[in-house]
Symmetry: C2
DNA sequence: TAGATTGTTAATCGATTAACAATC
DNA sequence: TAGATTGTTAATCGATTAACAATC
């Protein structure tokens, strides 16, 4: 495993996808080739091999990779095996949906609490997790060593919430507000920009007739 | 406006972000320079200018762009002004959250109905939109000329749901299942892969100490 | 052995950034 | 006019793909 090499974001995006597939086939196949994975997803086989080289490097000519080993190596690399607590700010529809979703556990992330400005939702629980008032953010982060924050507030509040979280020591921000957040070096922001995805799809429908575009 | 040029996905992702900002400032500023937008978002000014050239080309040296014009041009380009009906398949937590979210209207998309396999949710409504049984997908798509589908089912069902939708004439698929979907040419899949985003954030936290990475 | 498959080095492709002339 | 700003052409950067030697 290349521990110090810089791993591209694209590779990092594909690894969880491979992991899912490997878990899917693990009972039926002991070995898998990069070629096989590439064929399944209809992508380039060299790309798969390069991606896997980041976490493994243990493939063998002719037989490929040992599925169980590969799963363990990707999980280890992604950190799926160490539990990370995250807090969520903005317990609206989207925020509560994320709190209700238990699938993040598969990747080692657990939303331990949410914070909201409105008295209406504060004091309630969603999927067993408390929704607390803004006031408590600083203390909660300090006591629980929170390093990841999820922002599901409206655009207008996103930057100030982000500043507040990073001020509390948060170094990874998952931003669902359709805006670009400015952060200090060392803090990573990952934008889940639903508007941008919609724009791409909507545009595709409109340019439709001039067609012929692949995928 | 360059109507026939191929627009990069990256540009398409940034345009809605600019649009949001322009709407935010439109009451306070009549003009805006690409330089100003770039500074606000802390990105390269030439990039902003190239992005805007795709929709506008009407910037003037010294004064920049007319905010109101630019808003109209981006909206026109993105199709925010033509209403597109979409259906959603999989009315679980995430699916219902998307149905409850009214922000998509800003980009001209409306979820008109959802479909679910389980009898438990069928027959209910979410945010005024009906949840219907799988059986009705084909008829509903045909009657309402549905071109966009949103997939919020578990991974195992995603490909078959996708096949079914594209079989009904859907040409734009918004996929929330953490898997790669194979589709015929002419169909665009946009993956909203929450697992991949988490992987990137989680990895950042783990490599933390070797730090120094920007943004 | 022959052939499937790996892993690496080189070539290509696409997107970002730098340099600069045009212009209001 | 001088300077801010645009838009374009060229250079750079990063990621994908092709070519190929190594190996089980």
């Amino acid at each position: 495993m290349k521990t110090n090499a810089t791993v591209s974001k694209q590779t990092l995006r594909r690894l969880p996808v491979y992991l899912h597939y490997l878990n899917f086939i693990k009972n039926d196949a002991a070995n898998i080739s990069a070629t096989g994975i590439a064929e399944f997803f209809d992508i380039n086989d060299v790309q798969v091999r390069k991606d896997l080289a980041v976490v493994s490097g243990s493939g063998r000519p002719k037989t490929g990779y040992v599925v169980a080993e590969l799963i363990a190596q990707i999980e280890e690399f992604l950190g799926s095996r160490t539990e990370t607590d995250a807090i969520l700010v903005g317990a609206g529809n989207l925020g509560r949906a994320l709190m209700s979703y238990n699938g993040f556990a598969e990747y080692g992330i657990s939303i331990s609490a949410a914070f909201d400005k409105s008295d209406g939702v504060c004091g309630t629980t969603v999927n067993g997790k408390p929704v607390l008032p803004y006031d408590g953010i600083e203390e909660y982060c300090a006591h629980n060593d929170i390093q990841m924050g999820i922002i599901t507030v409206p655009v207008g509040e996103a930057q100030s919430v982000c500043d507040r979280l990073t001020g509390c020591g948060v170094r990874a921000v998952w931003n669902f507000a359709p805006t670009i957040l400015r952060v200090a070096p060392g803090v990573l922001v990952e934008n889940e920009n639903l508007a941008s995805s919609l724009a791409i799809l909507s545009r595709h429908l409109r340019e439709g007739e001039s067609g012929g575009e692949k995928n």
